[in-house]
Subunit: 148 residues, 2 copies
DNA sequence: GCCTAAAGGTTGCATTTTGCAACTACATTG
DNA sequence: CAATGTAGTTGCAAAATGCAACCTTTAGGC
């Protein structure tokens, strides 16, 4: 996770986010954490990631205040990794990736796991950027204003 | 960009999205493409990525139908890389990463580039998953339904 | 308490990916 | 037609990753 050296990547929030989360495993760890996974071994089995890499990523995510490691709630002496507020606020990122994958990366008829609103039992609606007025905001109607 | 081997990563749209986009550069390339960057050299200078890596990523993004390479519109003999519809629909992903970074990755007073609604000149509102009724949907009110 | 197995890592080594610099090929400019 | 710019490719060194073995602490059976 080398830092992006060019200056525009330092002042761009997208670049900074990817400095923290932009590797093959970190966002999958966070996804599983949203699904309630908390223990090292469960992350490891669920992801199929090498144990040393998982240990490294968990450490970095804790350092980045995305996860916190705390004594397990179930009374056992082991500890567990839980999303912080900062980690929880990655929810839109994970949902956006999910919805993009759902739309573009599966063949017709191919099954995939779905994200459900537990209050209604229905799939979560597609999320999109919106104007202040609430209407969908296409990319062409935006631009990035560079820092002063 | 090795494929994630464990089965749950193949049926999870998040996992599949990250198989395609989950490296340090692909989403930055797409971000710059949203900003209007089209040419190899402009991506290279803007990102500071090694040229061989950029060539490899552009090739993979074209293979994944995120970008299309076509003759340059400006009459020059070179070609340019433009977002496909599939690529354009990564907009929510890029915006979500941006908004997470804005909120959590900058110190008070530190400047960062902002995404502006060109119709109003105001920053794009924070995007969040919503229920069918339109109210914000917290992670705890969702669950992933595994495939049958 | 004692033994065994599982959990949660760490370490060493082979493989893969990345970064850097040099090189090539073609196009454009003067 | 020489010089410069664009768009790569190639070779090699450095870093990240994957894999297996090892270690230490905890949990469970007796």
């Amino acid at each position: 996770m080398t830092e992006h050296s060019v200056d525009s990547n330092r002042t761009c929030p997208v670049g900074r986010s990817l400095d923290v989360m932009g590797d093959r495993w970190s966002l999958l760890i966070v996804r599983d954490a949203f699904d309630g996974v908390r223990r090292f071994g469960d992350f490891q089995r669920g992801l199929g990631v090498a144990r040393n890499i998982l240990a490294d990523r968990l450490r970095k995510l804790v350092d980045a205040d995305v996860l916190v490691s705390q004594p397990a709630a179930d009374g056992s002496a082991y500890q567990e990794y839980v999303l912080t507020r900062r980690g929880e606020s990655l929810f839109p990122v994970v949902v956006a990736l999910r919805q993009w994958g759902e739309k573009h990366l599966f063949d017709r008829g191919e099954k995939y796991s779905r994200l459900i609103d537990t209050d209604t039992g229905k799939p979560v609606p597609v999320m999109t950027p919106r104007t202040a007025g609430g209407s969908p905001l296409p990319p062409a109607q935006t631009r990035v204003k560079k820092v002063v």
